[in-house]
Amino acid sequence: MIIHHKPFRPVEGCWDDGVPKKEFRLTIKDEQRRKKMVGKKMIWLGVAILFSTLWVWGTAHAVSEIRIGQIGPTTGWATMFGTEGLNGVKLALAERDYKFKGIPIKLFTEDTKADVEVMRTKLDSFKNRDKVHFIIGPSLGHEGMAAVDWGARNPDMPILIGYSAPEDITMRKATPSVIRPGWTGPQVIFHFGKFCAKDLGYKKVIIVGQDYSYPWDQAAGFTRGFLENGGEKVERIWHPVDAVDFSSIMAKLTGMKKEYDAVLCNSGGAQVVAFFKQWYQFGLDKIYPQILGQANVPIVPMLTELADMALNVYSSLHYYDGNPSEANMKFRESYLKAYGIYPSVIAVQGYDAMRVAFKAMEAIGGKVDDPKAFITAVRQAKMGENESPRGPFYFDKFGNPVQNIYIKKVVKKDAKLMNIAVKTYKNVSQFGPYAAMPEKYMAQPATSREYPPGNKDDYFREIEKYFGKDYMAELKKNNGWKE
């Protein structure tokens, strides 16, 4: 006999024992479930309380910590530019013990590897991961251009540009949130051209340099100052960025002596050392008076490598290491104590950037979480004579400093090589002698390896085209620039 077990099927609307579900009845299962639910709810409640307290606490003490991002190339070929800038920032922070009016300061540092894609990733990291209040850096030309482009897209993140020198960061691409307590390439060399033409009396100069945008800018600035103040011709010779064998160029220079008066070395790094060595090997020091340098040429670390070869080299910059001012002396000594070497202009700019930021923080009472107020305060910051190792400076409306430019000469002092200033041009803006007409200056094409032309006639044709006849007449009347 087969017994069919009917499966248990509860009657709808009844409890298991058949009693209708008219009244609510707790079963053991329900009790357990209820307890579990309560447990879960308690956990959720705990989490909610924790988060809300964190959130309230977070907003109440918005600037319980000042967070700063520093970015620059600390690996790869451009390590020097990143590390020195970072050291400068750290030194300025250490002076205040990493504190601002009792609020601790946290410094985040990132490496760009001298690559803009990496750099933008890191800028995003600063903004979204570390939630920094402002950023200092980067150091290289192309990095700076990419940073200002990023800044235009992220207007709530103040950026204090480091050593980057392209003009357009604070000219054609200028954006409110990006301020540069540094320099532009041409800004520091305009007056060197004038100095070479007027004080040294050269008529024709050869510029030998690396073939990329920074040396192009240097050559352009020099050409303007030189030709507008009585110079006749500037010849540019470009070599590949990493070339170290200059024998063909040296041979060429020997042949060009008949026509030209002096040579300006427009390279950077190891290329300069190689150039100087070969200059002496080929005996060019006996043919030409002395070598001229672009802004970066007898930079402090280079002096030890070049040794006596660097003696009497003329160049120009917004900082010189032999500056006897109190700020510079103190800065040099404390840097030497902290890092074991004397600082260069790269470190000065990192240091200055941080000091400008401190000044702005003081003006707004440490409220760095308000980017607009911070940006305004930075732009209004004025550094006095003894506040920066480079001397006084303030920002123009584009966010670039108006500062002193020093014509430097390398001399030996107490058996140590040092740059001293032979002439100072005060309050030079990034537009140099064209400070009164920035729009006209910016209307010109961007500098390239051949622009502006090095030939006097072609050059003045361009000047007349962009600056007008009045400017030309004024140049003629004053026999060059006024001051």
Partner: protein, 329 residues
């Protein structure tokens, strides 16, 4: 019944899970993660084009970044200098990239092995030199800026990174599907045949050179697509995007993930890009750690992460993978 039907559609199911994960990224993660995901995707397309060639043709190319960059440069130039409206700059960019791949392809498919590597290296460096030196067109080392992502259906891809993410995800999925379909097609089989024994395939009457050529151009297409998104996301392009460093980075990502697989390309890129950000936040010597990591990968897992997982994880992963129809590849 339900189970059977489920089994029947298991691949669709898997695809849905993967799609779900990718689609939900902007909802469940932070803004920063979305930015990283965008980076991994465009760079992943570059790496995929490299692994496609490595897996199907058995050659390592050091010029995939050139196609990536050429497309990017054309988008930048056409958009900023000539102001062409949206769909045209990327279309022209990809087309130009393909034409150049077509021309150079005739040259490079003639050689194999180390010579392929050398020839692509030279051509890639040539493109880099052009980008760096021809400043009237490419603006030299500074590069071209002010490129903005387009506005689609009234949403600005520039402002909303989530929108950009979905926009790119669509094409990324398309490119991945395209490469997978190519691998599965008779075309892919023929390519693998060539990889294993070229002379035999030639003897059997297959147009070996033509197939290799087509594979090269297809790979360039995917790289070019990645380049378009790269320039839209970055907003600028400069010679570093076509430099040897970029090519090598793609190669390293491929080696890390597994040079013969497409999934490895994306995984490797993801790991590399993430490590770049995470490690560099912790230590300044992060390149050292990455170097050591690569040393270990090459010593102990030469087939990359995906290859190693396949080897060692076969025992416990294979039931699952077989169930999803991915058992043997």
């Amino acid at each position: 019944m339900i189970k059977e039907r489920f089994f029947l559609y298991r691949k669709t199911f898997l695809a849905l899970i993967v799609a779900g994960i990718f689609i939900s990224i902007p909802w469940v993660t932070s803004d920063f993660f979305v930015l990283m995901a965008i980076r991994v995707m465009y760079f992943g397309m570059l790496t995929m084009s490299l692994t496609f060639l490595a897996g199907e043709l058995g050659v390592v190319s050091l010029m995939q970044a050139s196609f990536f960059g050429i497309a990017g440069y054309f988008v930048a130039i056409l958009q900023t200098r000539y102001g062409l409206p949206f769909p045209f700059p990327p279309l022209v960019g990809i087309a130009v990239s393909l034409i150049i791949a077509g021309l150079l392809g005739m040259l490079v498919i003639r050689v194999r092995g180390i010579y392929f590597l050398m020839l692509t290296l030279v051509l890639g460096q040539l493109v880099w030199a052009l980008a760096s030196q021809w400043s009237s067109v490419t603006e030299g080392d500074t590069g071209i800026m002010n490129v903005y992502a387009p506005v689609l259906f009234g949403i600005s891809m520039e402002k909303s990174k989530t929108a950009f993410y979905y926009f790119q995800l669509f094409f990324f999925a398309g490119a991945t599907w395209f490469l997978i379909a190519l691998r599965r097609s008779p075309f892919g089989l023929m390519l693998r045949g060539i990889r294993e024994s070229e002379s035999r395939m030639r003897m059997l009457g297959y147009p070996v050179s033509l197939l290799r050529y087509a594979a090269f151009v297809f790979a360039a297409l995917v790289a070019a697509l990645g380049g378009v998104f790269f320039v839209y996301f970055m907003g600028l392009i400069n010679p570093s995007s076509v430099s040897l460093a970029t090519n090598v980075e793609a190669l390293l990502a491929a080696i890390l993930g597994g040079i013969n697989t497409l999934a490895g390309a994306v995984l490797g890129t993801g790991i590399l890009k993430t490590l770049d950000v995470v490690l560099s936040g912790i230590t300044k010597r992060y390149l050292l750690f990455m170097g050591i990591m690569f040393l270990f990968v090459i010593l102990f897992a030469p087939k990359g992460i995906i290859g190693t997982v396949r080897n060692y994880g076969r025992s416990f992963l294979s039931p699952l993978m077989r169930w999803f129809g991915l058992g043997e590849d």
